[in-house]
Subunit: 402 residues, 2 copies
Amino acid sequence: MTHGWAPPARSGRAASQQDMRRQNLALVMTTVAAHGPLSRAAIAGRTGLTRAAVSSLVEELNTAGLLTELGSLPSGRAGRPGRALALSERGPAGLGLEVGVGHLGACVVDLRGEVRGWLRVAADNRNRPADEVLAELATVSRRAVTEAEGTGLRPVAAVLAVPGLVGEAPGTVATAPNLGWRDVAASGLCAQGLPLEVENEANLGALAELWHGTGTSDFIHVSAAEGIGAALVVGGRLFRGARGFAGELGHVPLCPDGPVCACGARGCLEQYAGEEAVLRQAGLAAGEDAVRRLASRAREGDRCALAALERAGEALGTALAGAVNLVDPEAVVLGGAYAELGDWLLPGMRRELTARALRRWPPKALLVSGLGRRGPLLGAGMAAIRRIIEDPAELTVSRSRR
Amino acid sequence: MTHGWAPPARSGRAASQQDMRRQNLALVMTTVAAHGPLSRAAIAGRTGLTRAAVSSLVEELNTAGLLTELGSLPSGRAGRPGRALALSERGPAGLGLEVGVGHLGACVVDLRGEVRGWLRVAADNRNRPADEVLAELATVSRRAVTEAEGTGLRPVAAVLAVPGLVGEAPGTVATAPNLGWRDVAASGLCAQGLPLEVENEANLGALAELWHGTGTSDFIHVSAAEGIGAALVVGGRLFRGARGFAGELGHVPLCPDGPVCACGARGCLEQYAGEEAVLRQAGLAAGEDAVRRLASRAREGDRCALAALERAGEALGTALAGAVNLVDPEAVVLGGAYAELGDWLLPGMRRELTARALRRWPPKALLVSGLGRRGPLLGAGMAAIRRIIEDPAELTVSRSRR
DNA sequence: ACTAATTTGTTTGCCGCCCTTACGAATAGG
DNA sequence: CCTATTCGTAAGGGCGGCAAACAAATTAGT
């Protein structure tokens, strides 16, 4: 450290010609994914590559089964019509997996982002040996995969959604309190040798929203369940923080002298808007489908429930206003279990946000996720397939690629 | 939008061989900048490039005056010793500029990050025509530049620090309330044709901390002045948010029913820890060197001042705990004017952070900036030079580079 | 219907860049 | 003094994108 510089932030690695090719393959894939069927010339125009280069790239992607030629693509203007290229619907696919407290899930998503297989079975995973849970998930997964293989799909990457924190080592769960897991390695789940990635379920719910939901790519996705978590999506990427613990909205201090929280501090948001607090205020017992019961109470006009939801919405809005001032997102999306309660939570949230957000907060910037409980599993499948799209070189003939 | 994908987040552009070269030139520069004098072989080892490639890259950087050969670099082991390469101390330099409420500043920083010229003059810029201010800054800048040119330096990029928000258009100030500026174009400031970038002074203070301060590259830099701002540094990069307004810590709600703030909401942090509030509680009048007076009062043991600082520290700590839970930084750095008050603010801040941060918060992760008021100007100079280091191709022979 | 214009996709030749291999240079150890 | 080791450079090769030219397919004009 003789010079005064801190270590460089990005790109610690050399760029080779393989990397260039890799990046351009990815560029073609992402371009086609984003802008529908395109001709080679259109891809060239959009990306800045030459038509010749695009031809070469497309051929490579084509033989790998990632792209398909659909047929003529009349442009309306004079000239030879292009041949439409689209993401293949019968080739590599993504496998999404989920371990929930009360269920297991598996889904298969094709390159276009379409769900081609969906399986969800009830299972009481609370304090059940992790091996056992993973073994059952493996059979569920196999069923979904064989079903998908019938329609010409071949899973090539898997992502597992867990209600807990992901470990440093790839493919491991550091801790999942509601499952009773601690340092569980999920590798070996895919005997087929698929690369497996483990990710927090709330984060995957946010990614599902990014890819299947509204157009924005900078938002805070609130997903309240046992705890209140916020996934920050910034520039279309998950923001994980320095150590991967970003997004703990539930323990933002709301009122410094408030009630004591399980975390030891006072007045955390969770004490005002957490599931337990809301149910208590509404006079309901906790339980498996507590949120659903609360929603029906509110629908019936139960005063107590409505007041509790009102207060919770305000608390959420206040805490979110702070987050918005700090992070400056384009939108806030309410997802997770609380999405079902949106009708009653939103007014208070919106009121607080408009009052407290320093930048004008348009009403449309606060919305409810349309994916609901399906978010995490869907996000897992999409994340798996997204991996392929953003680095297709892994599946390509790979003359000598790493 | 026939496919379900949102637009891709990154890399909307094709990669060509020039880009590859560009990236590798930058890689060599950042490597040398970060790890002191290195031989070509050492650079090759660190970056993954071949010795041959490094030789070629180094030669290009050498003829551009960006690198210098220092002499033999004995390794201790057997074998021919390498020739040490270091960032040049007499070539391209960065020009930092600053417009404050009460002063103007200019500095010249060489590639090694060393300050080689420093000029700061008092000037009452409050509600003075922007043209006039910029004209005076230009003369100050010229003096600093001619001085630096005497020692063999040649400024090639400039960054201007302003106490306000930066506009969308490059080189413009959207609004600087304390200066009375609105949509001011700062281009034309550098008649020499240097590329000029405008940036918020607090952000530059944070960057100065990144490059001249402690080793961490993920931190929240609190800089309290008129308002309370937080610059978020994530992975060694400034985090600006979707529209560039991230970091408004001053208006995080601290107590939902607190006193009304100038922003219209209730109980913002600024009402508890802002300069005005603290001075009022301490029984001091506002004014130019109010912070200094407050510090001396505290040093003398003034009960009132100590109590006010205690409360302010607690409030800051509470709000920061929320931010820490949300963003998960490695450290919090107290900078700006409040750095001088660190002795009295830190205890309360630390107490609140340890109590409220969900992840264990080590005491060393909260610290006071050693740069004080020099941060923004220093950061401007460093940012200018950093630009060169991270894209040296701009200064290279450029056979036909864009 | 026929021609001109236009756009697409491919082919060919070229250049740039990194990699591999080989070689001279410079130092430490015996 | 000789050998092992490491450093920097030079020569040859492969790969990948670019520029230009060309054949194919369609529209527009007469």
